[in-house]
Symmetry: C2
DNA sequence: CTATTATATAGCTATTTAGCTAAATATCAA
DNA sequence: TTGATATTTAGCTAAATAGCTATATAATAG
């Protein structure tokens, strides 16, 4: 549910991963290179993001390409704005 | 920092507390009554929210009244929209 | 099939966190 | 001051989480 999104978002490394993916899809290896953590650590962060459906993955030969699931991100933001946004209104 | 807000928001009980406070300030006891958890458990949730500055507290005699800190909530939302909102734009 | 590369999973440890009960603190009435 | 009420803090346990290394799986080249 939404809860997975909140928990996924609670970690700064995962938010950084999402930030990287804003510029376009990246392979798991490319993502891991941007961090100091070990590759399996980043792999697990990716699986948390995937579980929250904030990212989608697709195998491309030996690589697994991750992309931002903008729909889920935007739905989450819309939910937040509706629930905590007060008088914030979004331009269509 | 922002990180405290994300972590505070990651718990469903705390989001529910914020939701209750949208309707107006409540005492710690009034908040605790709305939940099945023990009162000290809710007290600690309140302290997490306070630490993230999502709520403010003020003693009123024997009571401690909590209110939503709408400024911090809105700033957090604005940050989220700027960082993950894609084309979402907020009306001023 | 074998070796290599890319990635995930298993299994462990240390840290964090949520929950509880019991005890401490603060306010106030008498 | 004493007692009652409101709330927090301390101290504990159980569960979740992030990190690591080692191992397994998947794809592909030779």
């Amino acid at each position: 549910m939404n809860d997975n999104v909140f928990r996924a978002m609670a970690d700064p490394t995962r938010r950084k991963i999402l930030d990287l993916l804003k510029a376009g899809p990246l392979t798991a290896g490319e993502i891991a290179q941007k961090f100091d953590s070990a590759q399996p650590t980043i792999s697990r962060h990716l699986s948390v993001l995937k579980n929250a459906q904030l990212v989608a993955d697709e195998r491309k030969g030996p690589y697994i390409v991750y992309r931002l699931n903008t729909t889920v991100v935007q739905n989450w933001l819309a939910w937040l704005i509706n629930n905590f946004g007060g008088d914030i209104r979004v331009q269509q």
